[in-house]
């Protein structure tokens, strides 16, 4: 979907990469004052916007009310791992998320190639179908899938969760891959056909080999969707030891007395991977991918 808009991280404007500063004509004084006024405004806004995130980090690192520690401490984080199933939840989240990423890229890349190069009515019809499917509320398919998966023993099961995540990332992921393949000149493949390469061969050896940015954008998208999902998890997961991190964090709220130090410690653990991905792969963090990614959340 919106992946279409900027799915080409190298040519399209992505965030964080050099912004085209607008050279302003206004001379000296006024312009200079304006600059500092804007700087102050942005600084204030950013500070306010980040309050909830800072609060999370500060509470996670502040000693719990019953603790003897002083200053900032990692005690809450070590406690949450030793006293709850946090380790299992983290592992479950990692397993489902990474499998989702791998499978949805593996499914979306070939399909995206067909969408990009195919010319028939069927192909463009399929493209529209994917587009409509991604905008539908996930709750519609969750109920029938729940009944189907219950019969197959896939409720309260990480494999079942992964299948749904792959299904729900696949639509946008295919569009993202197609948009990226569109930017690869067909002449590259044509040259390889002349050399006797098959269509499939040229797809894997020529096209895929040149598509790392597109693959990374798609992978980031799938990663965030699976990592952040709550709706599918709350419907399909039942037992504590099968929980993923979002369910783990929420499980703290079931008692009357919320252990804020614990929940914030786990919240920090949960927000680190997306922030690390964001910080390191910022260049491939295309607007549209994220846009599409959150359609269902």
């Amino acid at each position: 979907m919106s992946a279409v808009l900027h799915a080409h991280p190298e040519s399209g404007p992505t965030l964080g990469v050099a912004e085209t500063g607008k050279p302003r004509r206004v001379l000296s004084e006024a312009g200079h004052r304006g600059k500092w006024w804007r700087f102050t405004a942005i600084l204030a806004i950013t500070a306010i916007v980040l309050v909830p995130i800072l609060v999370t980090v500060v509470l996670a690192l502040t000693p719990a009310p019953n603790s003897t520690a002083t200053g900032l401490t990692f005690e809450n984080i070590t406690n949450v791992f030793s006293k709850t199933l946090a380790g299992t939840w983290l592992q479950n989240s990692l397993i489902t998320t990474l499998s989702t990423v791998a499978v949805s890229v593996a499914v979306a890349a070939p399909a995206g190639y067909v969408l990009s190069r195919g010319r028939s009515k069927a192909v463009s019809g399929y493209s529209l179908l994917l587009f409509v499917m991604q905008s539908l509320p996930i709750i519609t398919s969750v109920v029938p899938l729940f009944i189907l998966f219950a019969a197959m023993g896939l409720v309260d099961n990480l494999l079942g969760l992964t299948i749904i995540y792959v299904g729900s990332t696949m639509t946008v992921a295919t569009w993202m891959m197609a948009a990226y393949f569109d930017s690869i000149p067909v002449s590259l493949e044509e040259a390889s056909w002349i050399d006797g390469c098959s269509v499939f061969g040229s797809f894997t050896k020529v096209v895929l080999r040149n598509s790392l940015p597109g693959i990374l954008s798609t992978a980031i998208f799938a990663f965030l969707l699976a990592w952040n999902d709550y709706l599918v998890a709350i419907v399909f997961l039942r037992s504590n030891e099968i929980f993923t991190l979002p369910m783990g964090v929420q499980s703290f709220f079931q008692q009357n007395n919320t252990d804020w130090s614990g929940v914030m410690a786990l919240a920090v653990v949960m927000m680190l991977p997306p922030i690390i991905v964001f910080a390191t792969l910022n260049k491939y963090f295309s607007v549209g991918g994220i846009g599409g990614s959150l359609a269902g959340r």
Partner: protein
Amino acid sequence: MSSTTAQSGLARARRGLAPGGPGAGPSNNNPNRKSKLSAQASRTFFWLLLPSVVLLVLIHGYPLFQAGIQATHDGNLIQTGNFVGAENFAAVLSSPAFWKAAQFTLWFTIVGVFGSWLVGLGLALLLRTKIPAGGTFKVLLLLPWVVPIVVSSTAWNWLVATPDSLIPSLFRNLGLGTPLFLADPSLAAVTVMVFKVWVSFPFMMMMISAALASVDTTVYEAASMDGATRFQQFSQITLPLIARSTYISWILMTIFCVNDFPTIYLLTGGGPVDATTSLVVLAYRTVFQDFATGPGVAIAFLMTLTLVVVSVLLYRQIRKSSVE
């Protein structure tokens, strides 16, 4: 617009206009080889597309079909029940809870879309000019979008949930009374909407920044030489130039808002007294708490219908824009 290159190529390809491709036909200088390739291409394409089609049928097609059955039966999560025709839809459409949820969804969507757009636009314009550490701010301001909702809703809960939370205490100390952000029905609705804007404005900021980055700056110089005021420059140049991506971002955000579950459910659970129950939350509760599958799925279906219209509109807009 540099950002539209890939996209217009894509849209052209969707309509079968893009040059090249194995199936492009015999217009090239080697017709024989082309048509042989074309047959091979069709076969290969079939196999490349197959996994995706299978998944689409399994995860989207089959459930949608089953949902159609459930919406017209009086069953529960265990058995299908008897066929009741449009009764579930009639029941849903005549229930006050549905219309209340629809109304909340509408307001939530309007505030979510335009609130995040206005904040995103303001920040994109502020960050457009060179300011110290502009890149850093840009990255930091994206964090609300990157951080999982489960995490941010936890933080928001800590900040506003009880009368002794940080922000209500702050209000009290300023002599503004003690607002019950999540306990007072109308204030809770506002809080959820503000939370949604907080989560979504970075998306709008990204979309608008990308559109602004591709605007040729010399236009402004020309305009200011012709005596255009700053406001005229904004309304006559900037807005029209970002109109297309604005339009697309509005429709996308509409889809995100209507489909949103965690932002609302994690902050208020749909309460107090259903004041923040949106259609998705209502559908979820009807199915998984009241175990009334038929009506629950009927609600989801009514939403689906609206969203199909919205997404077809968006699809056509994307295709149309590439013709220009």
